[in-house]
Symmetry: C2
Subunit: 121 residues, 2 copies
Amino acid sequence: MKYGTYVKVSCPERAILEHVTSRWGVLVLVALLDAGTLRFSELRDGIGDVSEKMLTQTLRTLERDGFVRRHARPVIPPHVDYTLTDLGREAALKVQALADWTSSRVPAVAAAQSTYDAARG
Amino acid sequence: MKYGTYVKVSCPERAILEHVTSRWGVLVLVALLDAGTLRFSELRDGIGDVSEKMLTQTLRTLERDGFVRRHARPVIPPHVDYTLTDLGREAALKVQALADWTSSRVPAVAAAQSTYDAARG
DNA sequence: CTGTATCCATGATGATACTG
DNA sequence: CAGTATCATCATGGATACAG
C-alpha cells in the first residue's frame, strides 16, 4: 500500500505529516504564509506546473485538516479566497523551517552525493 | 522543472525533503537519533512492517545524501552498523521536531476533520 | 473563474525467492 | 545476517474534456 496523501493511513500522525510535506502541500502552505490571502487562480499561477486537479485536491485536504480556510464569494464569475487558519500558520511555519534548513544544506548534500557516486558507480 | 513565484523550492531541495520526510526515512532517522547505532536487523525489527527492500532503499538514499554512515564489518555472518552523520543528526532533529509538532496537533486536526465531514460529506 | 469527471501512464510498493 | 532480483498490483498525478 502506498502511504497515501489523503486517507487510508493507519497512523493519523503519519497522514498529517504527508499532507503538509506533500509536493504541493508545502508550496500551498508557504505561498499562503507569504501572501496572506490568495485566489485559486493566483495559487495556480504562482505555484506553476500544478494541475488544477492536484491544486484542488491539495486545498481540500488542507481545508479538511483545518489548515486552510476557504471563502467562496457568491458572485459570477466565481471568486474563491484561501487563507491559513491559526493551525495552518503553525504548520506552515514548521514546514517552512524544515524547507529552509533543507535549502541551506543542498550544497552539503550535493557534495555527499558526488562523493558517494564517485566511490561507487 | 520550474517552481513558484511565491516559493523558492528547487528540485534538489524537494528531493531531499522527500527523502527525510518519506515514510521510512522519518522512522530511520528518528530511530538512529535515539539509539545512536543500529544494525540492519535492529532497524528492521525496531521499525516493524518495513520490508527489507524498502529499508535497504531508504538507507541507501540517506547514505548517499550524507545523512547516514554505513559501516560493514568484514565478518561472517555479515555485521553492518548504521549511524547518523553530523548532517544526518541535524536532519533528524528537524524532522523529529516536525513530527512532534504534528503529533501534538493530531487532536486538533481530527476535530477539524470531523467538523468538515459533518458539514459536507 | 473555479472547479469535476474520467482515463491512463508511470512509478512506488511489498511479497517472494534467492545469494554471498 | 544482510542484502538483491523479480514481479504483480495499485495508488498517484497529469491530461483532457466538461460543467456551474
